[in-house]
């Protein structure tokens, strides 16, 4: 049984006071938007440029804000949401760990699922939590990973925690010691 999140292509909510789109990279695939929709539907965008040369932008209402890193963007998002009023909708597009980081911050600010839309895209990349030692291993792209905390070789189970934004990692030969399955790339 998998509880893999499914993502619907983005379109703006019909009734909202304001919309904010958060992206973890400049390249957003076309299929991230529902037919008939695109970037122009989201005049206010925050994007991770991932670059030390990102310059502070003049204050005002720029349609696009660029950030040095995802952490930078998420920290300012937390700040922004604390000052926001009801009627805002947020949209996140990017890697799965990124969009669920956005969801977590929004949830902590009091927003519900009916006020946000997420679309994960790009090559599969997961944060894997070791069930044995609780270490979170970021950036996992294969079906097996050696836990950075306890050294166990973990199988990435198809089980996602929406609260912790992690997939479950269980020692791969726990049932039959020594039987290590082949390593494969994670598939979307």
């Amino acid at each position: 049984m998998t509880n893999r999140p499914r993502y619907a292509p983005l379109s703006p909510f019909a009734q909202a006071r304001a919309h904010l789109l958060l992206c973890d990279g400049a390249a957003i695939p076309d299929d991230a938007f529902a037919p008939g929709h695109g970037l122009t539907d989201f005049p206010e965008r925050w994007t991770v440029a991932g670059h030390a040369l990102v310059m502070p932008q003049p204050f005002g209402a720029p349609s696009e804000q660029r950030f040095r890193s995802a952490s930078h963007l998420l920290a300012l998002l937390r700040h922004r949401l604390a000052a926001e009023t009801m009627g805002l909708r947020i949209y996140a597009v990017g890697s799965e760990p990124f969009v669920w980081d956005v969801a977590k911050i929004a949830r902590e600010a009091g927003m519900g699922r009916e006020e946000m839309r997420l679309f994960a895209c790009g090559a599969p990349e997961r944060r894997v939590a070791c069930v044995h030692c609780r270490t979170v291993n970021p950036g996992v792209t294969t079906t097996l990973v050696t836990c950075a905390g306890c050294g166990a070789v973990l199988t990435v189970r198809d089980h996602f925690s929406r609260v912790h934004n992690t997939w479950m990692g269980v020692q791969c030969d726990a049932e039959a010691p020594g039987e290590v399955p082949p390593v494969e790339d994670l598939c979307a």
Binding site: M86, A109, G110
Partner: protein, 316 residues
């Protein structure tokens, strides 16, 4: 889902607290502990009908509920009382025994809310009084805006006096509260709860929707739908015809005819009383059926809805 848990209550105290408002304290007739109730819960009382008619069932919000000390209600004398509120005002006396349902809660504080915005109109203050008591206890952020007609400001100020504070505001008349501005200023994670005349609650809902509030953050309490035109109800399966009077609900008419049919909130919110329609055009007044379901016209909530056609045929 018929609820069979009834309580036998005794009137411990009944006092007029303002013209047309009576506060009633109820305890278990056998002195036992009463079931606890969350703020916003209501009970349905069986009250004698006017002129020896069948008993009426009216739902009242609990202003406070304590298993030891009993339940407290505040009842407004309705202008067009079918007998329920008139009985409470004219006849009810300490020592009277009343049957009631156990408390039900269809109007509850949302535990995930960052802030609670309470908007009451007139006697719609009753569940909000229970909310304020709880919110003060838990220390959760809230604001209460009570709208009262100019001549009743004093009544509500007195009711709210024990709970006064900077979060509590009383407005004389609906025009003195700028609802859109109030709603527009609320932080993310706010839930709004409104109880009062349908017009006020519709206004709150529409203003919130217009500002982009998701409907999951807007809560309303519907009690005591007013009457309308009389019509005739035919129950196809039981082969009987019932006249529904203008000041009577369809549900009451069915019950008065001796037919037992499930109900819970009696305010068009819970969906328990749903009945299939075979013929005729229902006038939907509930908040349970979706637009699509209404358009199909296959079901009706008899606790609040009526009929547009002179005859409504139900499949029961």
């Amino acid at each position: 889902m018929m609820d069979n848990h009834t309580l036998t209550l005794v009137v411990a105290d009944a006092a007029l607290i303002a013209p047309g408002l009576r506060r009633v304290h109820l305890r278990a007739a056998d002195g036992a502990r009463l079931p606890p109730a969350a703020p916003g819960a209501h009970i349905t009382l069986s009250l004698p009908g006017a002129d020896g008619a069948r008993p009426l069932r009216n739902s009242y919000t609990l202003v406070s509920a304590d298993p030891e000390h009993g339940y407290e209600l505040i009842v407004r004398r309705a202008d067009r009382s079918r007998g329920g509120s008139r009985h409470i005002h004219e006849a009810l006396a300490p020592g009277d025994v009343i049957d009631a349902t156990v408390p039900h809660n269809l109007f509850a504080l949302h535990s995930q809310a960052k802030k609670h915005l309470l908007i009451g109109g007139g006697i719609g203050i009753t569940p909000l009084l229970a909310f304020v008591a709880r919110l003060r206890e838990t220390g959760a952020p809230f604001e209460l805006h009570q709208i009262a007609s100019a001549d009743e400001i004093g009544v509500f100020a007195a009711l709210l006096a024990p709970r006064a504070g900077e979060q509590v505001h009383i407005h004389g008349g609906r025009t003195s509260l700028d609802l859109p501005a109030l709603l527009a200023a609320q932080p993310l994670g706010t839930h709004v709860y409104t109880c009062g005349p349908a017009g006020l609650m519709d206004h709150v809902e529409a203003a919130a929707a217009g500002l982009g509030w998701p409907s999951s953050h807007v809560h309303r309490e519907d009690f005591g739908a007013a009457g309308g035109e009389p019509f005739v109800l035919r129950l196809a399966a039981s082969d009987i015809e019932i006249a529904v009077a203008g000041d009577q609900t369809m549900l009451e008419a069915i019950e008065a005819a001796g037919i037992d049919t499930p109900s819970l909130c009696r305010g068009g919110a819970c969906g328990v009383c749903i009945l299939p329609v075979r013929q005729g055009e229902p006038e939907h007044r509930d908040h349970f059926l979706s637009e699509a379901e209404r358009a199909q016209g296959c079901h009706v909530m008899p606790c609040v809805s009526r009929s547009r056609s002179a005859l409504l045929v139900l499949d029961i």
